[in-house]
Subunit: 253 residues, 3 copies
Amino acid sequence: MLAITDHGQVRELRLNRPPVNALSPELIVSLRQAFQAAAQDGAKAIVLSGAPGRFSAGLDLPLLLKANEAEIKTLWRELYSLLRAIATSPIPTVAAITGHAPAGGTVISLFCDRRIMAEGNFVIGLNEVQVGIPVPPVLVSGLRYVVGCRYAEYLSVTGALISPMQALQIGLVDELAPPEQVVTQAIAWCQRLLSLPSNAMTLTRQEARADLAAIFSSDLGPEVDEVSAGWWHPEAQRTMHAIVEKLGKKPAS
Amino acid sequence: MLAITDHGQVRELRLNRPPVNALSPELIVSLRQAFQAAAQDGAKAIVLSGAPGRFSAGLDLPLLLKANEAEIKTLWRELYSLLRAIATSPIPTVAAITGHAPAGGTVISLFCDRRIMAEGNFVIGLNEVQVGIPVPPVLVSGLRYVVGCRYAEYLSVTGALISPMQALQIGLVDELAPPEQVVTQAIAWCQRLLSLPSNAMTLTRQEARADLAAIFSSDLGPEVDEVSAGWWHPEAQRTMHAIVEKLGKKPAS
Amino acid sequence: MLAITDHGQVRELRLNRPPVNALSPELIVSLRQAFQAAAQDGAKAIVLSGAPGRFSAGLDLPLLLKANEAEIKTLWRELYSLLRAIATSPIPTVAAITGHAPAGGTVISLFCDRRIMAEGNFVIGLNEVQVGIPVPPVLVSGLRYVVGCRYAEYLSVTGALISPMQALQIGLVDELAPPEQVVTQAIAWCQRLLSLPSNAMTLTRQEARADLAAIFSSDLGPEVDEVSAGWWHPEAQRTMHAIVEKLGKKPAS
């Protein structure tokens, strides 16, 4: 469910869980392990990509609605671990957002060094509220870092799904590219970084991203508990079941 | 001096103190009470509007220049209470800025969830410095939240009054509308929020706006004292009297 | 190496160290002293300018590569003192960026109240990483204040040198002007500020810039030590020598 390809020093982690790259507990764990393994394996930068037109549809709701309390708590704990791994990655990471990236699709790109998105009729945004789930605090903090307080409030509260062009204007993504060149441009950006004096780049990157890493420096256990409890709120359950119903009861996996 | 109209679940508070909706001590208290009463009365969102072409001219200087020290201190304490009530409102609030909104007009819109302003030949901005009054610290903090540090410094120090279009570009307002549609669009925005799963929206809104509410979480008594003292600085008195003189000694009320 | 001219109440400090206004230890000290003396001499605002087409090329690498450890530590300590003097200046300061302003050229403009840059084929940016030097933490903080977290990370990590137009779009400069009018516009901006009620403007400026001044309020001795040590990192030495080699071994002074 994760295709790993090395382009020289740049390792591409390609989400490969058809049909829509929905995030299952297993994929989340694999992704975190892959982020952590990359530097250990000698990679110098990471590109996180998806399928053409489908970066990731976010959490696999049909699957997760069958999970029990313990499994849901594990899910969130693992998702937080993945985000921490990205935010504190010792090597640069770029999200090559190859297509639709609602909710969890946006979430896994938020803590990368850079977001390059495919031009076209795609959506991006934290639509958690529309699914009945309060946006977890770490995500609000991540949004503030990327787009500032005002847009962080707007995006999280309204759950707006926006176009690549709007995302560029707001700063939710840094760059647009023709769909077939998103990965190429992400790799090229990594290579430009890697051509820089590496000690200077690495130390500066660490300093510049300190505020982002700090989001994960306190004990987030209580927050994970609260977020997990939110999953079981009647409104969340009702909304998620209605959405899955509407999807024709076809599990995304 | 305040017209209250319920549009379904959205309560409109319309400033109605001709000719220019200048803020008198009584209006400030009424406004704070109305903000607090709305949720208690069952309203689910608040639209703060003004007269066509005149949102609010800010503090009623001709009236306030006749006030004594105790009254001025009460004025600022009450204004701070109003801003706290808006910043911590349990239900969404939108400023429908129907026209001119200098100084206090901007102030009362700054802590709302959203600012929608009438297109046209209107001004908005914190021109306190031009009136001889240092910008109160809570307002600088509010500005930083809305427009970031750089523009907060620019707007507060220069006291610039800018056009709706410039305000949109800077982020001081979120949306423009034809004058006759400002209130309608504000109500529509509230209704879109209210169509969302309400527990998720409410909790996310609380989290996203935590930094704004935090501005009012410490004891602001000493700050109110300092701001009140600033009113009596010879430069402030000289400047305000000259401005009122120029207005033809006609009290705005 | 520093030409001082009073335009009424506005004092212009013009960098005058041909051919490229490279920053030598002496110039850095002179500049700090001139910033501190201005208010004492009765000036009400400061314009920092350079030569036509050449604001400042940044640190004088050919000269500094001959310095010993103690001299390099003194250099950084003095540069930090200069930046603190600008960030905490009791009177407004404007950088009239008359031309190229890479690295140190950007650094000395970053803590001014405003940056007005010459239109044209010039570059600005913190390209320290490209020179092999990690961007000092105070500069990352200054960048965050001016352009926000996302662009601060981008500019510092990549070391990008950008055009005046790009700098305007990002917010790294506030205003562009035809080259021959940069200084005039900077003086005019100061004069507009000085036409405001001065107590109100001064107190508001102090409040608005408090976050910028706070960058220098803790003991930065350990940071200066670390930054100085970075100068002697083999990568930094190798990179700087290669750059100076390429410049034809002609000292910029």
